[in-house]
């Protein structure tokens, strides 16, 4: 009986983890740095955003569409939220559910941003939104609000 209970609990927890995205919070840039330097055949899109940033919210559907369009190709999208404050996780989670976000979301809560902005890219001044696109042969930071067409053309031309 006890075994069954734990089995049930395990299935419940596992199913829960799959159905709604758990959003990790990293208080140190080092924990997300590896996401910016993966040496694989995949092309990576890393978007820096926040729920309160209007141009970030505006470009979110473009990243969603990109995710759909290339879901069978070697493209990996991560959305790094810079939301802060006591309700940050809740805010990001609600946003993710409301907008049906398909890509991985993490929250970076490392307010000493001068220490890490240049590690993302020396081309970035720190203004939101910003997007890094890279693979083994290409690396570029875009400090701008994207529309889908621009995003699609860059990814399409770089994907392997």
């Amino acid at each position: 009986m006890r075994v069954l209970f734990f089995l049930g609990l395990f299935i419940f927890l596992f199913a829960e983890g799959v159905s709604s995205q758990e959003i990790p919070v990293y208080s140190n840039f080092k924990k997300v740095e590896y996401l910016l330097h993966k040496d694989t055949d995949t092309t990576y899109v890393i978007n820096f955003w926040a729920t309160w940033c209007a141009p970030c919210v505006k470009e979110m559907p473009a990243f969603n569409r990109l995710h759909e369009e290339f879901k069978n190709e070697p493209l990996d999208i991560t959305l790094i939220s810079l939301d802060f404050g006591s309700s940050a996780v809740e805010r990001v989670k609600k946003f993710s559910e409301k907008h049906g976000i398909k890509s991985r979301i993490v929250i970076l809560d490392d307010p000493d941003s001068n220490s890490w902005i240049n590690k993302v890219s020396p081309e970035w001044s720190g203004a939101l939104p910003g997007t890094l696109i890279y693979n083994q042969d290409f690396r570029k930071f875009y400090e701008k609000e994207f529309n889908y067409k621009e995003l699609y053309h860059i990814v399409k031309s770089k994907i392997k």
């Binding site: 940033c53 209007a54 141009p55 941003s113 001068n114 902005i117 970035w124 720190g126 939101l128």
Partner: protein, 200 residues
């Protein structure tokens, strides 16, 4: 004719490439902008000061809000030492009604700003400086009437928690200048809200 067109294009390209704003050591051009008390404020009004702390900031941005009290603190600390704060709101107010001139007035009154809060209505001054986000600081040193850019960047190293600040970049920069030294670091970065401009 072709030559004229070609050189015009080249000039345009070089303007686009090189007008990326001020670097350390550049001389800041004079500006004249409307303040929340409806008077006009110019950089040249500060020629009797040792320098000016120019802050591009706004009402709506959470990073600007998080740093707001510390900006007020900078003016309280350094105005009497010859480095007053001058705040400039660079956003398009149609895109961001929170940053309208009326709302700037309200904000300055609510928070008892001890410094001018100017509107960059034509959105030319922020481009001249090369500001990209709010808040974005430029500390200018008055060298015989010329305002030389000596520090560009963040107020300090923690956008969300004043009590957790370890490096007071802006205050240290002003103190260095007051002691006759160059700020170190002279440039820092921080997360902020992009400046909202319809033309971009």
């Amino acid at each position: 004719m072709k030559k004229i067109v070609l050189s015009a294009v080249l000039v345009l390209i070089s303007v686009m490439v090189f007008s990326q704003g001020y670097e350390i050591g550049d001389k800041a051009k004079n500006f004249r902008l409307k303040n929340v008390d409806d008077s006009y404020v110019s950089l040249s009004d500060y020629e009797d000061e040792k320098g000016v702390i120019v802050v591009f900031t706004c009402n709506h941005c959470p990073y600007a809000q998080a740093w707001e009290d510390r900006i007020i603190g900078l003016d309280k600390k350094f105005d009497k030492k010859g480095y007053p704060v001058v705040a400039i709101q660079p956003n398009d107010t149609e895109m961001y009604p929170d940053d309208s001139f009326e709302n700037m007035k309200k904000r300055a009154e609510e928070k008892n700003y001890t410094f001018p809060y100017l509107i960059d209505k034509k959105q030319e001054v922020y481009k001249e400086f090369g500001a990209t986000r709010t808040p974005h600081l430029f500390i200018l040193e008055n060298q015989e009437g010329e305002f030389i850019v000596q520090y560009i960047g963040a107020p300090d190293d923690n956008y969300k928690d004043a009590d957790a600040v370890e490096k007071h970049y802006a205050a240290n920069a002003v103190n260095s200048l007051l002691n006759g030294n160059k700020p170190e670091p002279a440039k820092t970065k921080a997360i902020g809200c992009s400046i909202k401009d319809k033309s971009k």
